[in-house]
Symmetry: C2
Amino acid sequence: MHILVTNDDGILAPGISALAAALKPLGDVEVVAPESVQSGAAHAITFNAPLICERVSVDGAVFGWSVDGSPADCVKLGVHELCAKRPDLVVSGINAGANRGVDVIYSGTVAGAVEAAFIGIPSLAVSLEASGGFDFERAGAITRGIVSQALDVGIDPGTVLNVNIPHLGGRDPRGVKVVRQSTAPWTDRYDRRADPRGRPYFWLTDEGERGHSDPAETDLAALRAGYVTITPLQHDLTEYKQLDRLDRAWPRA
Amino acid sequence: MHILVTNDDGILAPGISALAAALKPLGDVEVVAPESVQSGAAHAITFNAPLICERVSVDGAVFGWSVDGSPADCVKLGVHELCAKRPDLVVSGINAGANRGVDVIYSGTVAGAVEAAFIGIPSLAVSLEASGGFDFERAGAITRGIVSQALDVGIDPGTVLNVNIPHLGGRDPRGVKVVRQSTAPWTDRYDRRADPRGRPYFWLTDEGERGHSDPAETDLAALRAGYVTITPLQHDLTEYKQLDRLDRAWPRA
């Protein structure tokens, strides 16, 4: 099996080296990842500028391609130009920080996997909940188990499995839950500051917790309860209930 | 009514001035838009850096706030900090180029509207199909009509209406269709070029047409047939059919 690995924390992030190492027993692993940190890049793509690529070595061995673009750029360019052969699987991560609920819309990690789904390649996005530090080695071992199980169970080529691993703190996750995405909003707050010339600027703060009224079967609630969460994602955003209502209500010419 | 207007082509783009002018008869219009072109920015947000804002005047009159961030940043910051009062409606556009099918995932224009939906404010994203040139004034008049009708029909606060206007070429649209989003993929192709030192780089080309096998009721097909398309969008990406299947199939610990 040929596995393309990408991320949004950049090719030198510890999460992607842990992921690549963890997946090696499952097949040939190729890394194509952003040159720089792309957190919050969402599904940005680059078409007004060219993409520069470089081979990156770590400890004297070739680790992969860096691309001066987004995670979605890496997957698109990796599949069409850089990979030795068409990947059978794309895995994006391991992100430093969870991507659950509406995070999936902001997340570059998830976007890398969604881009693979556009192209028709089964994919997973993997994120590790923030805590004091990140134990990527253990998260990698958990990821290998999840990916193996996913391949046994089967991933529809148009589907992304969005995986979140709870912060471990030495403990084991309580288990695995297949759960839907929460839609609970962030409560945003900006720090208003003054620049050296007295003009205001703004900085998005660490936002508050969400989804405390969510039912137990969302990704937010299950991750908070200590489970590894798996949420299948698709990319038809149509609101079908509104579609029917609007279609009936819209004035005819 | 208080209307926040944003876009992804930047505050000085002709599409946003046409939009702001077209919506003035409907209420108080405030503009908060990116300082620079953000095409393809998708739902990127800025949290690792501050956001710098400036009042922008056009022809001697204050036009709005520019923000050195993405469309989603503009809506978030606009609603929470910059707007005189909480907007009743957010309209993003008029984008130079259509946003239908999977474009909605890449589009900064759509992301601005989706951010409003997160916050619970009804919103529309408006895009004008590319042709030889862009007749934003006529597109603005069409947009005003669509927004008025949408307010009559009612937009659920969690829903975005994604509106595409066909390229006009002096003709009228054939009508308005409420249609679902196509999921037909782009056929991507990269130009492989050599830099002045002989090293390869890549540039995403204008991609081919999509969705020729789509049924008539997608946004892609209806826009191509000359209709204004309206697609209600939501932001729960869960693939519910896969959710049930995976939940039954996933190995229990």
